[in-house]
C-alpha cells in the first residue's frame, strides 16, 4: 500500500476550495480508501495512505482531488485528448518509432507531451512522486512500468525507441558527469544496480533517443542528464512509459495525462509506430482509451447490498464515485474513465454504489440462519491435554514457530536433523519452522534461570515435520511437549507425568529404549501408545503406534543452552495419538 505526500497548496488549487478540516477530510478520503497518517502544519504536507492497490489513479494529489470533486457532486471531467482508436487525432510531428528488435526485450511504449505554465516546486515534487509510486509500487519495481519525464522543447522528432548494444551505446546518466556505456551504468550507477536485473542478460537494451541522436533515457533504468533532467520552471514535457504489457502502460499514461490536464497543461497525443502487432494494433495514438463497459443487473446488485436502490439512484451513486453510467433495461452499464481499469466484475460496481451511498446508510442485520458451532477435534483433544498438565503443576507457555536452524540441530546434538527451511529468511534467527517444541522450552529455561525452581513448563502447539509422503513435503502436527527442570529432575519425573497424561487422555503406553543424541544414553525412550486393551479385538494382536519421545536431556545439550539445571522432557504427537485412539 503506497503512502504519498499531499501538499495543501496543490490540493486546494485542484479542489478550487480550501482543504476541508481534519475529520471531514478524513471522512471524505475514506470514500477513496485513503487514510491520513500524519500532517505537518508547518509545511502543509499530509501523509496519506492509499489502501486500494487496484486504483493507482488515486495515488496522486490530482487523482485524489478529482475523486473528492466528483464525490461532492461536480460534473465528471472530460479528457478529449484521450483517443478512442476510432478517430485519428492530429499528432503532428510527435511520433515514436519502435525498433523491431524490442519485441522480445521490452516491447511496449506509451507517450504524450504536456505544455502549460512553468512548473512550480510543489507540482514538480508531485510529478516525481507520481512517477516513483506508479513505476515502483504499481509497476512492480519498474518491471511492468517505467515512467520517464523529459524537457520536450529540446526534442527533435521523431523519437526512436530502439534496442541498443550494451557496450557501445554511451551517454551521461542523471547524477553523473561523464559518459558511461549501458553495461557500465548497470555496474556503476545506483539505479543500474537497483533495476538492472530487469534487462541484464538481454542481447540489447531498451534505449530512447531523439531524431538528432540525443539520449532521452535507458529505460527502465535511468534518464540522461540532458533531455531527462526536468527542473522547476520547465513548461513543456515529454512523458513516456515502457513495459511488457501495453494496456498497463495505457492506463498509467492516462493517469499521468489527466493529472497534468487537471493541473492546467494541454496534453498533446503522440503516435507510436510499432513494427509488430500489439493488443491495440501497430499504430497506437496515446493516451488511448482501452477499457470496456461493465454491466450489472440491478436486482443482483440490490441482493448483494440487501437494500433497494433503484436505477436512477444507482446511476447517480456510480457517477458520484467517478464513472459514467447509464440505465439499460434492468441493468446499469458503467463506462470507466480512462484512468481506471478496476471493474473486473459486476460486484465492483456494487461496491461503488455502496460507498457512493455511504456504508453508514446500511443498517447492520444479523444473519438469520441457524448453524451449530463446534470446535475441531484437535482443539478439544489439545484442551484435554492442557487440563491434565496444568493439574500436574505445569505452566503453559506459547512460543514463536520460526527459529534458528542451529537451535534445532547443533544445539540439540542432532546436526543431521532436516527441517522445513525458509528460502528467503530476513535473519537466521527466523529461518526454520520448528519440528519440535523441546528447543523452545530449552530456550525458555535458559532465560528463566532466576525464576524459583522447580520449573514445570509445557506447550501444546504446532510443528512442521518433513514428510515426503505429503504433497507439500511436510506435515503439520499438533504437539504437546513438557519440560521439567530442577536440582534432581530426571527421567522418572517425566515418565510419571507422561503416564498420568496418557492415562487421562485414554491411552495405554509402553516405553522402548531409544538411542537419541539429545538425551543421556540409557535414559531416553520412544513412547508407543495404544487404545486400552479392552477395546482391541478379541484375540487380536495388540498394535502399538509411536507417538513421541521421553528423555533426560544430555548435559552437552544443556551446556549448549547454558542451562545449569538437570532437565527432562516428553514430546507427544497429539494428532497421531488421537488417530490411534479413534481408529481403535
Amino acid at each position: 500500500m503506497p503512502t504519498i505526500d499531499v501538499r495543501d497548496e496543490l490540493l486546494a488549487g485542484l479542489l478550487g476550495a480550501a482543504v476541508p478540516a481534519g475529520e471531514e477530510l478524513e471522512r471524505l478520503l475514506s470514500t477513496a480508501k485513503a487514510e491520513v497518517e500524519g500532517y505537518d502544519a508547518a509545511t502543509g504536507v499530509r501523509r496519506v495512505e492509499l489502501k486500494d492497490t487496484s486504483r493507482p489513479d488515486l495515488w496522486t494529489t490530482p487523482g485524489l482531488a478529482r475523486h473528492l470533486r466528483c464525490y461532492r457532486g461536480d460534473a465528471l471531467p472530460e479528457y478529449p485528448f484521450v483517443s478512442t482508436g476510432t478517430a485519428a487525432p492530429d499528432t503532428g510531428e510527435r511520433v515514436v518509432e519502435v525498433d523491431p528488435a524490442l519485441e522480445n526485450i521490452r516491447p511496449c511504449i506509451a507517450a504524450f507531451t504536456a505544455a502549460g505554465p512553468p512548473v512550480g516546486e510543489a507540482l514538480l515534487l508531485e510529478l516525481i512522486q507520481a512517477q516513483e509510486k506508479l513505476s515502483d509500487s504499481y509497476g512492480q519495481r519498474r518491471r511492468a512500468i517505467a515512467m520517464g519525464l523529459y524537457r520536450a522543447g529540446a526534442i527533435e522528432w521523431p523519437v526512436r525507441y530502439r534496442a541498443a548494444p550494451p557496450d557501445t551505446t554511451r551517454f551521461v546518466p542523471l547524477g553523473f558527469e561523464h559518459e558511461l556505456s549501458l553495461t557500465e551504468i548497470l555496474d556503476q550507477h545506483p539505479k543500474g544496480k537497483e533495476y538492472g536485473h530487469i534487462v541484464r542478460g538481454q542481447p540489447a537494451y531498451p534505449y530512447l533517443e531523439d531524431a538528432a541522436g540525443a539520449t532521452l533515457s535507458f529505460p527502465p533504468v535511468i534518464n540522461s542528464a540532458g533531455l531527462g533532467n526536468v527542473v522547476v520552471g520547465d513548461d513543456h514535457f515529454f512523458v513516456e512509459l515502457t513495459g511488457p504489457h501495453l494496456d498497463t502502460l495505457l492506463l498509467v499514461a492516462s493517469i499521468a495525462a489527466c493529472d497534468l490536464a487537471d493541473a492546467g497543461y494541454t496534453i498533446e497525443p503522440v503516435l507510436i509506430r510499432y513494427p509488430y502487432d500489439t493488443a491495440r494494433g501497430r499504430e497506437v495514438v496515446t493516451p488511448r482509451y482501452f477499457q470496456a463497459d461493465t454491466s450489472v443487473e440491478l436486482a443482483s446488485a440490490e441482493r448483494l447490498l440487501g437494500e433497494t436502490i433503484g436505477p436512477e439512484e444507482g446511476r447517480r451513486l456510480v457517477q458520484r464515485m467517478g464513472s459514467r453510467a447509464r440505465v439499460e433495461g434492468s441493468s446499469l452499464v458503467v463506462t470507466p474513465p480512462p484512468y481506471r481499469n478496476d471493474f473486473l466484475h459486476a460486484v465492483d460496481v456494487v461496491e461503488e454504489i455502496a460507498i457512493g451511498r455511504g456504508l453508514g446508510t446500511f443498517e447492520p442485520e444479523l444473519p438469520d440462519e441457524f448453524t451449530p458451532g463446534n470446535l475441531t477435534g484437535q482443539t478439544r483433544f489439545g484442551r484435554a491435554a492442557r487440563d491434565v498438565l496444568v493439574g500436574l503443576g505445569y505452566q503453559e507457555m506459547i512460543f514463536n514457530y520460526l527459529g534458528a536452524l542451529r537451535d534445532y540441530t547443533e544445539r540439540m546434538n542432532a546436526p543431521a536433523r532436516v527441517l522445513v527451511e525458509v528460502a528467503n529468511p530476513m535473519t537466521e534467527n527466523y529461518a526454520v519452522v520448528r519440528d519440535s517444541i523441546i528447543p523452545c522450552l530449552l530456550a525458555a529455561e535458559m532465560s528463566s534461570q532466576n525464576a524459583a525452581y522447580p520449573h514445570h513448563m509445557f506447550e501444546v502447539g504446532k510443528v512442521a515435520v518433513r514428510d515426503d509422503a505429503d504433497a507439500t513435503g511436510s506435515r503439520t502436527a499438533d504437539t504437546c511437549t513438557l519440560l521439567v527442570a530442577d536440582r534432581a529432575a530426571g527421567f522418572n519425573d517425566a515418565s510419571a507425568h507422561l503416564a498420568a497424561l496418557l492415562y487421562y487422555l485414554g491411552a495405554e503406553h509402553r516405553l522402548v529404549e531409544l538411542d537419541d543424541p539429545r538425551f543421556i544414553p540409557g535414559r531416553a525412550a520412544r513412547v508407543d501408545a495404544s487404545a486400552p486393551a479392552a477395546s482391541t479385538a478379541e484375540g487380536g494382536e495388540r498394535s502399538w503406534t509411536a507417538i513421541g519421545v521421553l528423555g533426560e536431556l544430555h548435559p552437552a545439550v544443556l551446556e549448549h543452552w547454558s542451562i545449569g539445571m538437570p532437565c527432562a522432557t516428553v514430546e507427544i504427537d497429539l494428532d497421531t495419538l488421537r488417530t490411534t485412539l479413534q481408529d481403535a
Binding site: H345, L359, E365, F370, G393, M397, N424, P425, T472, S474
Partner: protein, 522 residues
C-alpha cells in the same frame, strides 16, 4: 508504661511462640541475661536466641540492659605462615647463628625476604641487643633473646590452638603485640585479625515478668505442639496436648502452580465465543502453496504482495507434487479470462508451476478458501491460525503471529448482514459499545465490497478491529460455491494485547517463565 499495657493487652500467653516461652521461662528473674546464658539454660542455639530476643523486645517483654564491646583476635593467612615457617626475626637470628655474619642484602636473598622487612627486623632486634652491625656492614648475632619475639611466638601458637581469643583473655604484653601486628582496615598485611562484636544483655520488663508468671501458671513449657499428626488422631493423644496458636497474619510461603498461559486462555475464550455464535472451527497446515494462499483468492500472480518481501518461500521441496483438480484448472481459467464467474479475469497466462510453489501461509484466509470446497450452506466457519510474514521483529511486529478468520455462507447474506456480523464481533468479542463501532470502505483483492471495522477504545481512540468483505465470485465459483460468502478477519493479537495490558507484542510469546507466572489474566 501505656505502651507496655497496650502490648500486654494484645499479648496473651497462648499467642507466644514456643521460643518465646522457653526464653521467658529460662530468664533468671530480674537479672540480666545474654544469648550465651540462655543457650546453656534453655537449650537454644544462637539463631533461636536472637530470634526470640527480637520478638520479645518488639512486644515489650524484655529490654536491653547493656552492650559490651568485645575485640577478638585470630590468625591471618600470614600469621599462619609465620607460625609454620617462623617470624622474619626468628629466621634472621637463626640464619646468622648458623652462617655467621652476613651483609643485609645477602640475608634478604637467602631468606627470600624483602630488603625493607629485613631492615625493619634488624632495627628492632638491634634495639633489643639481639643483633648488631660491624664495621664491614655485616650483621651478626650478639647473644640474648628478644622477649617481644617470644611473646609473638606464644600468641601465634595460642591463637592457632584456640581459633580466636578475646582481648581481655590476653596478657598485657600479648595484647600490645596483638594490637601492633593486627591488620588495620585496608592494610594488605597483618599477622593478626581483630574482629569487634557486641554482647548485648537483656532483662525482663515488668510486662515480661508478668508474662513469665502467666506462662508458668498456664503450665506452658514452650514445647507446645505445632502440628496435629496422624499419630495423635489414631491414638487420641491430641486430647492431652496444647496446640500452639499461630499468627494468622504472618505471610504465607510462595506456591508454584500449574496454570494456563493468559494468551492461549484468551484465544480459547475467543474460540468459545465464536462457537457460541454458531461458528464451526477449521484448521490447516503451516506449509501451503501459492495456489491456496493467493491464486485461489484471485490475487494475480504478478500482485506486489506475492513477492519475496511479503511471503516466506520454502527452501525444499520448492514445489508441491500436485494441486487438486478441478480447482487448479478453474482457478487458472478464472485468472486468464474469468472462466464462468462473470468476470473478465486478469488477462494473463496463469503459471501452474508458480502455483505449486511451497510457502508459509501469510494469512488465514487460505484456510477459508480451502474450507469453501467442503462448506455447508448455510454455514459459519472460523479458525485461529498462525501466519508468517517477513517483517523486522519489533514491539509491534512478529515473524509469526495469529490471525482469526472466518466465512459465512448463505443464500441471503449481503452487505447488511456483513455489517451485522462485524457489529456482533465488535460488541460480543471485543466488548465495544454499539455507539463506538464504525465501518469504513476497505480493499482486499479477494472481497468486493470490502469493509474495515473500527471500535473506539476508551484511552487509545479509534482502532481497527478487523477487515471483511463479500468474497468475489472469482473466488467462490471455482471452488464450487454459488451463494454469497462473507469473509472476515480480526486482529486477534492486538485485541489480546489490550486485554492483557501488554504493549510489546513479543511479550505475548514470552519465554520468561517468571513473567508468564506473574501475568494476571482477566
Amino acid at each position: 508504661m501505656l505502651s507496655v499495657l497496650a502490648n500486654l493487652a494484645m499479648n496473651s500467653v497462648e499467642q507466644l511462640h514456643p521460643l518465646e516461652v522457653r526464653t521467658l521461662r529460662a530468664a533468671a528473674g530480674e537479672l540480666p541475661f545474654t544469648a550465651a546464658d540462655l543457650m546453656a539454660a534453655a537449650g537454644l542455639n544462637l539463631g533461636q536466641c536472637n530470634q526470640a530476643f527480637s520478638w520479645l523486645e518488639s512486644k515489650g517483654l524484655i529490654a536491653e540492659r547493656e552492650r559490651v564491646r568485645v575485640v577478638r583476635y585470630e590468625l591471618t593467612e600470614l600469621g599462619e605462615q609465620y607460625r609454620r615457617d617462623g617470624l622474619p626475626e626468628e629466621r634472621i637470628v637463626a640464619l646468622l647463628r648458623d652462617a655467621g655474619p652476613l651483609p643485609m642484602p645477602e640475608i634478604a636473598t637467602r631468606l627470600g625476604l624483602e630488603q625493607r622487612d629485613v631492615g625493619s627486623a634488624y632495627g628492632a632486634l638491634a634495639r633489643e641487643r639481639v643483633l648488631a652491625m660491624d664495621g664491614g656492614r655485616q650483621v651478626r648475632a650478639v647473644g640474648g633473646e628478644s622477649a617481644r619475639v617470644a611473646t609473638v611466638r606464644g600468641l601465634l601458637e595460642r591463637l592457632a590452638g584456640a581459633g580466636s581469643e578475646a582481648a581481655e583473655a590476653l596478657t598485657g604484653a600479648e595484647r600490645e603485640q596483638a594490637a601492633a601486628l593486627s591488620r588495620k582496615r585496608g592494610a594488605a598485611r597483618g599477622v593478626f585479625r581483630a574482629t569487634e562484636s557486641e554482647t548485648v544483655s537483656y532483662a525482663l520488663t515488668a510486662a515480661g515478668q508478668e508474662m513469665r508468671r502467666a506462662a508458668a501458671a498456664a503450665g506452658m513449657s514452650g514445647v507446645e505442639v505445632g502440628s496435629l499428626t496422624q499419630g495423635m488422631l489414631s491414638d487420641g493423644s491430641w486430647r492431652a496436648v496444647q496446640f500452639r496458636r499461630y499468627n494468622v497474619n504472618s505471610p504465607p510461603g510462595r506456591v508454584l502452580l500449574g496454570r494456563r498461559n493468559p494468551y492461549t486462555a484468551y484465544l480459547d475464550r475467543v474460540r468459545d465465543q465464536l462457537t457460541a455464535l454458531g461458528f464451526e472451527e477449521f484448521d490447516g497446515p503451516l506449509v501451503e502453496t501459492n495456489f491456496w494462499c493467493c491464486d485461489a483468492l484471485f490475487m494475480p500472480q504478478f500482485h506486489a504482495a506475492r513477492d519475496e518481501h511479503d511471503v516466506y518461500f520454502i527452501k525444499e521441496p520448492r514445489h508441491a507434487r500436485q494441486l487438486p483438480e478441478p480447482y487448479l484448472e478453474r482457478v487458472a481459467a478464472t485468472h486468464a479470462d474469468g472462466w464462468q464467474t462473470g468476470s473478465r479475469g486478469w488477462g494473463y497466462r496463469f503459471d501452474p508451476d508458480f502455483a505449486r510453489r511451497t510457502i508459509l501461509r501469510s494469512h488465514g484466509t487460505v484456510v477459508s478458501a480451502k474450507t469453501l470446497t467442503r462448506a455447508k450452506v448455510p454455514g459459519k466457519y472460523f479458525g485461529i491460525m498462525r501466519c508468517f510474514r517477513p517483517d523486522d521483529v519489533d514491539a509491534s511486529h512478529l515473524a509469526d503471529f495469529y490471525q482469526t478468520e472466518g466465512i459465512v455462507l448463505g443464500e441471503h447474506v449481503n452487505l447488511k448482514t456483513l455489517l451485522g456480523l462485524l457489529k456482533l464481533f465488535a460488541e460480543e468479542v471485543a466488548g465495544a459499545d454499539s455507539a463506538d463501532v464504525r465501518y469504513e470502505p476497505a480493499y482486499f483483492p479477494f472481497t468486493e465490497p470490502s469493509v474495515e471495522v473500527f471500535i473506539r477504545h476508551p484511552t487509545v481512540g479509534w482502532i481497527e478491529l478487523g477487515g471483511s468483505g463479500i468474497f468475489r465470485p472469482e473466488v467462490t465459483r471455482p471452488l464450487g460455491v454459488d451463494v454469497p460468502v462473507l469473509a472476515w478477519g480480526l486482529g486477534i493479537d492486538r485485541m489480546a494485547m489490550m486485554s492483557l495490558g501488554i504493549d510489546d507484542i513479543r511479550d505475548l510469546f514470552s519465554p520468561d517463565l517468571d513473567q508468564v507466572r506473574r501475568r494476571v489474566a482477566h
